[in-house]
Symmetry: C2
Subunit: 421 residues, 2 copies
Amino acid sequence: MRTGRKLARGVAVVGAGMSRFGLFREKDSRDLFAEAFREMRESVDGGLDPREIDALYLGNFSNDYFAHQAHWAPIIADLTGLTPKPATRTEGACASSALAFREGVLAIASGLCDVVLVGGVEEMSRRTTEEIAEGLALATTPYAGKVGFTFPGVFGAVATAYFARYGAGREDLMNVTIKSHDNAPLNPKAQFPFTIRDLMTARGESLKQKGLAAPGWTSDKDFLRDPAVNPVVAWPLHLYDCCPISDGAAAMLLVAEEMAGAFTEDPIHVAGIGQGSGRGLHRSPDLTSFEATRHAAREAYAMSGLGPGDIQFCEVHDCFSIAEILHVEDLGFFRPGEGCRAIAEGATKLDGPKPINTSGGLKCKGHPVGATGISQLYEVWTQLRGKAGKRQISRGDLRVGGAHNLGGTGGTCTFTILERR
Amino acid sequence: MRTGRKLARGVAVVGAGMSRFGLFREKDSRDLFAEAFREMRESVDGGLDPREIDALYLGNFSNDYFAHQAHWAPIIADLTGLTPKPATRTEGACASSALAFREGVLAIASGLCDVVLVGGVEEMSRRTTEEIAEGLALATTPYAGKVGFTFPGVFGAVATAYFARYGAGREDLMNVTIKSHDNAPLNPKAQFPFTIRDLMTARGESLKQKGLAAPGWTSDKDFLRDPAVNPVVAWPLHLYDCCPISDGAAAMLLVAEEMAGAFTEDPIHVAGIGQGSGRGLHRSPDLTSFEATRHAAREAYAMSGLGPGDIQFCEVHDCFSIAEILHVEDLGFFRPGEGCRAIAEGATKLDGPKPINTSGGLKCKGHPVGATGISQLYEVWTQLRGKAGKRQISRGDLRVGGAHNLGGTGGTCTFTILERR
């Protein structure tokens, strides 16, 4: 595909919704998706009649495995009143619903559809942590999986390589975690809506009630250094470097650009879509960068005519704290090895020059894998429309945001640029 | 989606390949796909440099479950030299790779890609039959699965309903089976390349060698009526009404119509693509027809400007013999209730007026679920190019063929019309 390729027809986002993310053992994927779909419908000016929808694309990683039920696209089509219209599931591990978004864009650009529902869902919490770790490991490469790598192991190796190459350390990972936890209480849908300081206070209270003295934590980092609070998961990654297990769903309505006015007064345009594939650890010449992300970024920038400097804020796939550092470099926001320093200086905070993961990120918002891609785009859409409430980025000229989604060990990466015109 | 919608850009098939179908416990999905990909490359005039390919769409139902490895699109992208280009998996149960074909068509029609590899693969035989039955049952609806339905049970109920409504019987199912077995020896890639008469002779020989007298079978149907040969699976379906468990892969190369001449002197055009979704048994007003197939057919006919009478031959999803009867009615080839009579009169035989499943169908060619959709299109492509060897349809004006793929209990159905212009 020649980069710089334009779509035959423009596409706009005219509605979006997401469920709360968290552990909801009493809900199944239909309950979760219904929650997201309801909010999406209400976000369309004057409401939405499902009969206006031409097709569904649904991202899901492996409800086959997690919920013992496969073939979810027609189930969700039935739930949302779309039967007998086309319903297609896409899978790209943790990037499954970013692929659904992309296929929805292409269905409209091709001329086949005018109005497409795209979404994602994953139902994980009814399984044990061991079962989930095993299920997720199915998305590593056959090589990594067979030698016993699970995801924390993979990203632990990535962190070690980054530390060695650029002289970074645990403090740099903590900066990412603390920033995500600072944003999370401002997001009413986040799984962990607590700052590190909130958690420190709560832990201190709990120890006091048990008649124990709280350690003398004097700062967020002091707290994160305490192995009783933040034990090792896969060196150098500790518990607070890892995103949680979550249940959740997200949904968006895409329409042909020329029809957007019939659905909303405030359409958000799809400026660029990029996708890349990667080989995995065993064939990566460099563990500190994902080839698939770099390819996705090249495609999306070329299509949009925009560059890294134009992306005013971005959601990136922080499945582990180290991942966020790699992504902000791979997307061109900071030079290789300089992401950690920019983060330390506050560049990616909500009030910094390049806010990253204003939603709280996968770390604090949660990571129901099949829902994550669209939930990131939901955050970008919400920010661009100025509806992000307490976490609204305050600069007045908010116009362009990005969302980066990663599946597996970089096997599938996407970068999507949305624009308010 | 308004039916009759045209794509913004035409698409042609310029190459195709498939592996042998069968039980290949020594091969994994990469081995199988490599076999299909190699033949596809060789089918392109002057060969194909993988660098010309812009993207991959791969259909797979559940290698997660069958092969304990998920996230196959980037693995196959690596195998075929496409990394870091986009690679997306589609899933629609047994219709997974017909969805890959469709998304490949849309990627080109949208203007994003010029040359797309589409394919499908499934690796099933390393699991026990019980594990496979359980894995496949994940693709029924949550309702059917939970009350214990597996696929033979579902289609047994469908057959019973059809028999009751239209006065059909086991003889009608046998006509389908015998016809598929008549075609299979003519397909060098078929899993069961034997006529019923071949099987009868072999069984007679085997009994004779054991010193036992062969029953006096006097006809194909006589043989199929013998419960020692053809036991009940799920009444009224017997062993020879059911397709087998298989391993296999299939691949196709799609290009923008205006570029087809650079790849082949004999392009086959995509005249119509249709897809529908269905609710499953528990909400079907009628067990003798699949809503999703009827919708897919309406879309494909409208796009192509063709009707059932224009489809000169067709591959249909005969996962069970009864399914073939329903499909030829749902696609409009015969009126409801009349399919079985037309089949009895020989209409669907290789030399009949409407040949169906010249490949031997799922019953005899095999059914590696994720590969089936593209393998059906491979058969249509091969027939239209006059390269089907001993099973070549002999009428001289072969121009239009169809392929119908069904997933789950009709949750996902597609109908695709290919045309030689």
